[in-house]
């Protein structure tokens, strides 16, 4: 039976390492003879191989000990330099990289993205604040409406149906009241308020005159009232009006004389008048019973007529 070769030419090394030529079997000898000329050559190769493998055949000197330190220093120096190159490449266009790998472009994109996110967040925050205010107002409005509805008696639908069935026709105003906004009450001003009509000469000559809070309250007249009076006075005076005015003047004179007498008694106690207090009292807002709190503000500012009266008071004080 013809044996087939199971070896490749390059595998002859295994035979050299393991067997002498005499130990080779027939198939191996046939294989070896194909590549090696003779038994002698085979043994020669085998001897060389064993020598090379089994003993150190090369006395190689070791590299110098300082070489490692030199190389490590070089390595450290190189990477110090590379840092500066890296920094440079951050801001310079590197031609070896693609356009989207350029550091400056990447930095730019990153900056734009960060700025966009920041601005968006800021705008969102502002919107949220505005919404919060709006919500509060709406809530207040809803609360007020609820309070109004609670305080207002509302007839139930059932009651209404009963009333209708009984023939009682009662106008349903309760629902409207909750929606209607009640305007602030207009203060009623008594027509008995009188404008001071004291003669300047008389007053100036009287050194004992001292004004009290009560008197000052007389001057604390709302602008609207005075203006209405001015309007009235702008109407051409009739004879009756002139007579009335004369009567009023006389009454005022009488009042002043009476006051003179009263104050003469209390001169010692009320000689000193605090001008500042008077001024502040003068500018006090007018308080009228039944007047709405919101309506008070419009009476704070004194009218032009009051200012003129102030100047009169100043003159009085100077004379005093």
């Amino acid at each position: 039976m013809k044996e087939e070769y199971t070896y490749d030419p390059e595998d002859i090394e295994k035979l050299l390492q393991s067997k002498s030529y005499a130990e080779l079997i027939r198939s191996e000898k046939e294989f070896v003879d194909l590549h090696i000329d003779s038994e002698e050559a085979y043994e020669q190769m085998r001897s060389l191989l064993q020598t090379v493998e089994n003993q150190p055949w090369d006395n190689v000197p070791n590299p110098p000990s300082g070489l490692k330190n030199v190389l490590i220093k070089k390595h450290q120096d190189k990477h110090k330099k590379s840092l500066s190159f890296w920094l440079n490449s951050m801001f310079a266009m590197n031609t070896q990289r693609r356009w989207y790998q350029q550091p400056i472009l990447q930095l730019g994109i990153a900056t734009v993205l960060i700025a966009t996110v920041f601005i968006t967040l800021q705008q969102k925050q502002e919107r949220t604040d505005q919404l919060a205010i709006t919500d509060t107002r709406q809530e207040n409005a809803v609360d007020n409406k609820k309070k109004t509805q609670e305080s207002t008696p509302i007839r139930s639908k059932e009651k209404r149906q009963v009333e209708e069935s009984e023939g009682l026709e009662i106008p349903d105003k309760t629902t409207d009241l909750a929606e209607v906004q009640i305007p602030p009450p207009i203060p009623e001003i008594s027509p008995s308020i009188e404008m001071p009509t004291a003669d300047m000469t008389d007053v100036a000559s009287d050194e004992d005159i001292v004004l009290t809070d009560k008197d000052i309250a007389l001057y604390d007249i709302p602008m609207e009232v005075i203006s209405s009076e001015i309007e009235e006075s702008s109407v051409p005076a009739t004879e009756e009006m002139e007579v009335e005015m004369e009567i009023e003047e006389m009454e005022a004179d009488n009042e002043i004389v009476e006051k003179k007498e009263q104050r003469a008694e209390t001169t010692e106690t009320t000689k000193i008048v605090d001008r500042d207090k008077m001024t502040t009292d003068l500018y006090k807002p007018l308080t009228i019973e039944g007047m709405d709190e919101n309506a008070r503000g419009q009476f704070i500012v004194p009218s032009i007529a009051l200012k003129d009266q102030l100047s009169v008071l100043d003159m009085l004080f100077e004379a005093y």
Partner: protein
């Protein structure tokens, strides 16, 4: 690891990657692993010239420092290193035209060794073996040194030389054949 990885336990490839990023300690360990081997390789490949071996070893590691990007991750580091070293030797051969010189030297050696052919002194054998290696072509010599001096496996040699394992085996076989014929005087059967 609190104080970083133990460099000595890292593979060659990991050390190379770290070295490329500026880790000098990793580079130092790579040198410890391959410095002596590469020096021996150059010494053997460059006609037992100690100074040349030292210069070439230094140049090889400087290349690793200067151009680490030439090493591609995923490849075996030792193969890459030996391929660079082999190319350096080839360039040296082209420039020096030392083959003729080596041939002359080996003839001289054989003449001397014929006088002491029964002498199996290892020093003489080593010297003659060194000269006989110079008669091999670069690839054969590289394969022979890597296999019998550096202790690389056939696959690793194939990676280093960029050829198949069969080619490496074939080169080794022909190297042995040439060397055995050149060093036949040391064969015991030649004893008179």
């Amino acid at each position: 690891m609190i104080f970083g990885p133990n460099h000595k336990k890292l593979s060659d490839e990991e050390l190379m990657s770290r070295s490329a990023k500026g880790d000098s300690k990793a580079f130092g360990i790579l040198y410890d692993r391959y410095g002596k081997k590469m020096h021996a390789y150059f010494y053997r490949m460059l006609w037992n010239d100690t100074e040349k071996a030292q210069d070439f070893t230094q140049d090889l590691f400087v290349k690793i420092i200067e151009k680490p990007e030439r090493y591609k991750e995923g490849h075996k580091f030792s193969s890459w290193l030996y391929s660079i070293a082999g190319n350096m030797c080839k360039n040296e051969y082209r420039g020096a035209q030392v083959r003729t010189k080596a041939a002359l030297e080996i003839k001289h050696t054989r003449k001397n060794s014929s006088e002491i052919k029964e002498n199996t002194d290892s020093d003489l054998f080593k010297r003659d073996l060194g000269h006989a290696l110079d008669l091999l072509n670069t690839d054969q010599r590289s394969a022979f040194i890597m296999k019998y001096k550096q202790g690389l496996k056939i696959k690793e040699i194939a990676d280093c030389l960029g050829c198949s394992e069969g080619t490496v085996k074939s080169r080794l076989f022909y190297s042995l054949k040439i060397l055995s014929s050149e060093l036949s005087i040391y064969n015991p059967k030649h004893k008179i």
